[in-house]
Symmetry: C2
Subunit: 210 residues, 2 copies
DNA sequence: TGTACATCAGTGAACGCGCGTTCACTGATGTAC
DNA sequence: TGTACATCAGTGAACGCGCGTTCACTGATGTAC
C-alpha cells in the first residue's frame, strides 16, 4: 500500500482487451501528476502511458474531469486507509494513536505530493462532487473517532469536533508546507513524530480548549 | 489594499502605449485565476482582458512562467503587508497580535482563493525561484517576530522558530480547508477570531512546548 | 522652441503543437440454444 | 460441444480549437542639439 509512484510501472498490454483500463488510467495519471505536477496531465498522454489509443479512455470515463475525479477518489480511499492503519498501531484512545493518524497523513503528502495537491490544491470542478465530499468526510471521521476515544467523549460532542478540526488543520498545513518546502520541520530542529505527538497532546490535553 | 478581485476591473486602454502593462497583466491574471481556478489562465486570455494583443506581454515577461511568478510575487507582497497590518492593530507582544496575523492570512485566502492556491498549491516551477522563496521567508518573518515578542525571546531562539512554524502550519491548513470548504469552522460552532486566539494562546502559552 | 533620431511598447499575422472529443469501425468475449 | 449473435472494449483517423511564442512592422515618446 502507498507504494512510491515512481516505483510503479504501467505494464505493457498484451491482449486486445485491456483487462482493467480504468485502473490503469488512474495509475498512469498518478504517475504523470507526480512527474509533471498536478496540472501536467492530459488524457492523451495518460492513454499513451497505458498503451492504448487516445479514444479508449472514453469507454470508461465520460470526460477528462471524470478521470480526475477517479484519481482523487482513489487517492482519498488510500489516504483514509493509511490513516486507519496508523491509528491501529497504537492503543485506542492514546495520544499516540492520534499522532499516528497525523503521521500517515503527512507521509501520504510527502510520498505523493502531486496527487495530494490534486486532491486538495486544485478545484477544477471536483470540489462539489458528492462522492468526493463523502470520502473527505470519511477521512475526517478517522480523526474524529480517535479524538473522541482520547477525550472519552462521544464523536458528535462539539469539543471533539473542534479538536478534530484543529488537529486536521494542523496536519494539513504541515503537509503543504513540507511538500512546498517553504519550511521544513527539520529546520526547527524538531523531529516529525515528536512534533505530531506534542501537537496532539497540546490540543487534546490540558492545553487548548475551545 | 486586498480589495476583492471581483470588484476590480481592468480598465479599457485609450492610448497606444499602455502605461503599465506589466501591472495590468498581473491584475488580469488575478481576475482570471479567481474566476477559472488556479490553472485556468492563459497568456492570450489575460492579454485580451488587458485590451492588448497577445504578443504585447512578451515585452514585459520572458514567458508564461514569468508572468505566473510575477503574480505570485505580487500576492506574497500583499499577503505580508496584510499580516503586518494585522499585527499592528494590537499591542506588540500580545497574543492578539499573533492571532491578528493569522486572521490576515486566512482572510487573504478567503478573499483570493485562486491566487492563494496559485501561490501555495501549484508548483509549476516557481517553487525554486529565489525571489519568491525570499518573499515567503519575509512573510514567515512576521510570524516569527510576533511570536518572539509574545514569548519575550529573541527571534532566532529555537523555541520561537518552532512555535512560529506551528502557528503557520495551523493557519495555513485552516486557510486551505476553509477555501476547499472541506470543513468550515462554523460547522464546529467556534468563531474565527476566538479560534485563532485560542490556538495562539495554546501554542505560545503554557500549552505546547516542543 | 523645433527638428532628427534612437528607443520603447505596441500590432497583427503566422507557426506548429497537442489537446479533448467524436466517429465509424473491428476484434474479442460471453451467452443462448 | 458447436454455432450464432449481441455486447463489449478496443482502434485510428479526423475535427476544430486555443495556446505559447516569434516575427517584421509601426506608432508614440523622449532626448540631443
Amino acid at each position: 500500500m502507498t507504494e512510491h509512484p515512481a516505483a510503479r510501472t504501467v505494464p505493457a498490454r498484451t491482449a486486445y482487451h485491456h483487462g482493467d483500463l480504468r485502473a490503469q488510467m488512474i495509475a498512469a495519471v498518478r504517475d504523470l501528476v507526480e512527474t509533471h505536477g498536478p496540472d501536467g496531465f492530459s488524457v492523451a498522454e495518460a492513454a499513451r502511458r497505458a498503451g492504448v489509443s487516445s479514444a479508449a479512455p472514453y469507454k470508461h470515463f465520460r470526460d477528462r474531469a471524470e478521470i480526475l475525479r477517479g484519481v482523487v477518489g482513489e487517492a482519498m480511499d488510500r489516504l483514509r486507509a493509511a490513516m486507519e492503519a496508523g491509528a491501529a498501531t497504537y492503543p485506542a484512545g492514546s495520544v499516540e494513536a492520534v499522532a499516528a493518524v497525523g503521521l500517515a497523513y503527512v507521509s501520504f503528502a510527502r510520498t505523493e505530493p502531486g496527487v495530494f495537491r490534486l486532491a486538495f490544491g486544485l478545484t477544477e470542478g471536483h470540489e462539489n462532487d458528492p462522492d468526493l465530499r463523502a470520502k473527505g468526510e470519511d477521512a475526517f471521521g478517522v480523526v474524529v473517532r480517535c479524538a473522541a476515544a482520547c477525550l472519552g467523549l462521544p464523536p458528535d460532542d462539539p469539543h471533539v469536533q473542534a479538536c478534530a478540526y484543529m488537529l486536521w488543520s494542523f496536519v494539513h498545513g504541515h503537509s503543504f508546507l513540507t511538500i512546498d518546502s517553504k519550511r521544513s520541520v527539520a529546520s526547527t530542529s524538531i523531529d516529525d513524530w515528536a512534533y505530531l505527538v506534542t501537537v496532539a497532546r497540546g490540543i487534546l490535553g490540558q492545553g487548548i480548549r475551545a
